[in-house]
Symmetry: C2
Subunit: 452 residues, 2 copies
């Protein structure tokens, strides 16, 4: 494919306001061969992503990196079961991924590793010219966010933050409604991660979920690493599922941006109680002495440049049904996820909620209409299919990534800013402008049509 | 009734931790005659309260004060219709209430006046030895809160803040469940005032609600005074319906207290849009030029001494169904008002909401069980009956008021602290300790049994 066609193919997108970044991406033209993928991290999340990738006809899995022999063996088997050639393996310690990045038959990497690793791995991958599909996490420091941004700007290697909830069917229908001005001007939004993770944070050291009160060295899978953050850190540790969809709706970094936040953490009781109440735990279990710092409910308020307020709730230590708690409220109406209801002035009966269902069907996003069958069966209600499809299709077209390094930086920064605010008794914390002012002129590109 | 009986009657309450205040209240013994009430303010709210009072056999309405002849006439007629003697009238300007306070045949006053007046009127009433039933409002200044507290402490005249939502049936059932430890240790609570008040803030100058875009001089009833606060003030203007019930649940000022808050206001769009969109308004209407400062959604986070976090939402300018948005969450479960659901670990199916209804019936508060019939038909689903009954019964018994001056001060202060936080870009604001340290030893007294 030649430069002329590339320009033609991107013209539609440019017309709706594509930044100049795309024209600088290395090379040009459609990617005609299969995309050759290296997987870095094939644990619980990575293995699921790998299995989803193996269903696609435009992907070849050429390399796998993981330090756990059990999970690596599962991944190798999955590739083999899919009828693909055995991938190269990189298993020799936490820096083995660097060898993977040297491989010429790797075009892009999926990074699904514990929270300490997405930044150094992404930075190294971008420097090596391997496109990055990066699993979500909060940042360890604001500097990590800057490293991601600066490395991308210096290398222009494609980078996408794989926030699947941006593609949740109801969320996309509401985005569609917002764009059709059903809710009027945006005023207040809410989201969160309200998910009882006690059986994720503790297990028996063998199975993924529950069955014991072990974590760290004696835990398995996420309990091995994730729980440590609940011991030592107090803040909005996992902001992206809540803030991602909200960011798309209010055009974050594209005519708008997060300006400052305040954060408040309740006392921490849930994890200790889980250990002491558990039949395999009890007051004399060594983990009953651990001082968990993470407040059971962390509430964060974000102010945007355009004056919307946003509330995020992080609630992972207590018994409760799962809810991301979305609320989208404008001058003309409101959607709430918790009661699955919508109110639109002039349409809904006065002062009465309507079931959201009817609206969500009517305003089903064009992407879901088109790809519903392809997505069915994929993880997390199909949204995992969409986020992977977006990365692969944007990569093949050399389009800019729909959820990019600036999205990542401003979302992941919430974690550090929230920790700082709590440590300072609720003091507001200003967001860095990771775009260096480009947010004023950048235009929305996320899910504008039914392409990806 | 003699001192001996008084002691006997208060013994039960003292046993559960009554403070020593009660023993200092002027006089002693049951109040055997009818309670003679003066009404200060008989507008929309005051008239409803008056009509409710006239249904009681233990109340005589002896005086009425209001500056509006229309509403005064309605009040006089209501008293006459109830077969009571014509009350004395005090209608000569905003300070006419002072004459009412001089009347010997007034034992107690109900104060239902615009937000600027409850403090000076309550202070004067307490000084005059008239027990005060004070309608709820946010404070104009922190000093107002101190005036209320100090005047009460100097006079020991009974003072009750008439927060009816503390008596809402579902709220009291949940309080009952909390006291039975169904939710475990309290962790996070939410409440608010999410009520589309656009037809309260604007009317046609004749009727109470809607029909035009007038306010201030040209408005009628609440539109005459309430809307002015939306023009000039930006904060949590009406905190008590949300924070009152939460305060009872977490034992505010009784072993716990509010420590600090942060507040955030969205942009202000709803009121201007209402005016410009209204058939009697439009872009050329003079009120379309008014710059309303009150953010459409104001979110406030409060931290307590015992480590619970509380989120309040004030949302009165946008089209939306009414909701106080309660959430009560502990180490063992959660109740949410929005989806009318409860989750209790070990009882509810794992990770699934249950309809709250079954629990709310099973744990119906003893007061509601006993007085359901008496309350039926009273304002706001019956809760108005309970709050009035509590005031009258506590007064007759010379018991301490169940919602007292410290409750009032700490609730009303939220308004000023919220304004300050917003004015300072979200800076945390410390609550004064209005109890001067007494909160550490005071015990809960609200609705401990089925007496009132």
């Amino acid at each position: 494919m030649q430069r002329r066609n590339f320009i033609k193919n991107t013209a539609t997108i440019a017309a709706v306001g594509l930044s100049s970044e795309v024209f600088s991406i290395r090379g040009a033209g459609f990617f005609n061969d299969k995309v050759r993928i290296g997987f870095i991290g094939v644990g619980a999340r990575g293995l699921g992503t790998l299995e989803l990738a193996l269903l696609r006809k435009d992907i070849t899995v050429t390399a796998i990196c993981d330090i756990d022999p059990i999970t690596t063996a599962k991944a190798v088997k999955a590739v083999s079961d899919a009828g693909q050639k055995p991938p190269k393996l990189f298993t020799d310690g936490p820096h083995a991924y660097k060898k993977l990045l040297e491989q010429k038959d790797v075009d892009a990497v999926f990074i699904c590793t514990p929270w300490e690793w997405p930044t150094p791995m992404s930075v190294d991958a971008m420097k090596a010219g391997k496109a990055v599909a990066c699993e979500v996490a909060g940042a360890m420091s604001i500097d990590e966010c800057w490293q991601m941004v600066r490395t991308y700007e210096q290398t222009l290697t494609p980078f996408m933050i794989m926030e699947n909830v941006c593609y949740r069917r109801d969320v996309m229908a509401v985005l569609n409604m917002v764009r059709k001005d059903m809710f009027g001007e945006m005023i207040h939004l809410e989201g969160g991660y309200q998910h009882d993770l006690r059986e994720v944070k503790f297990n028996d050291g063998v199975n993924y979920y529950g069955g014991g009160v072990e974590f760290g060295e004696k835990g398995y899978s996420e309990a091995k690493w994730r729980t440590t953050h609940s011991v030592h850190r107090n803040g909005e540790l996992y902001p992206t599922h809540g803030i991602g969809p909200v960011g798309s709706i209010i055009n974050n970094n594209r005519g708008n941006r997060f300006e400052y936040l305040t954060s408040m953490a309740s006392k921490a009781r849930g994890l200790n109680k889980y250990i002491t109440d558990h039949p395999k735990g009890g007051k004399d279990h060594p983990n009953a002495k651990v001082n968990f710092r993470l407040g059971d409910v962390v509430t964060t308020n974000i102010m945007t440049a355009n004056g919307e307020s946003i509330t995020l709730s992080h609630d992972t230590n207590l018994p409760r049904p799962y809810s991301l708690g979305f609320r989208v409220q404008g001058t003309n109406g409101i959607w709430m996820d918790v009661n699955k209801s919508i109110y639109i002035e002039g349409k809904s009966p006065a002062h009465k909620w309507e079931p959201a269902d009817t609206y969500l069907k009517e305003f089903d996003h064009p992407l879901w209409k088109k790809y519903e069958n392809d997505a069915s069966g994929a993880g997390h209600g199909g949204m995992d299919w969409f986020v992977m499809n977006a990365f692969i299709e944007a990569f093949k077209r050399k389009d800019p990534m729909p959820l990019d390094v600036y999205d990542h930086a401003s979302w992941a920064a919430i974690t550090c800013l929230s920790e700082q605010s709590i440590a300072q008794g609720g003091e507001p914390q200003a967001f860095p402008d990771f775009t260096d002012g480009k947010w004023m002129n950048r235009k929305p590109i996320f899910a504008l049509n039914d392409i990806y």
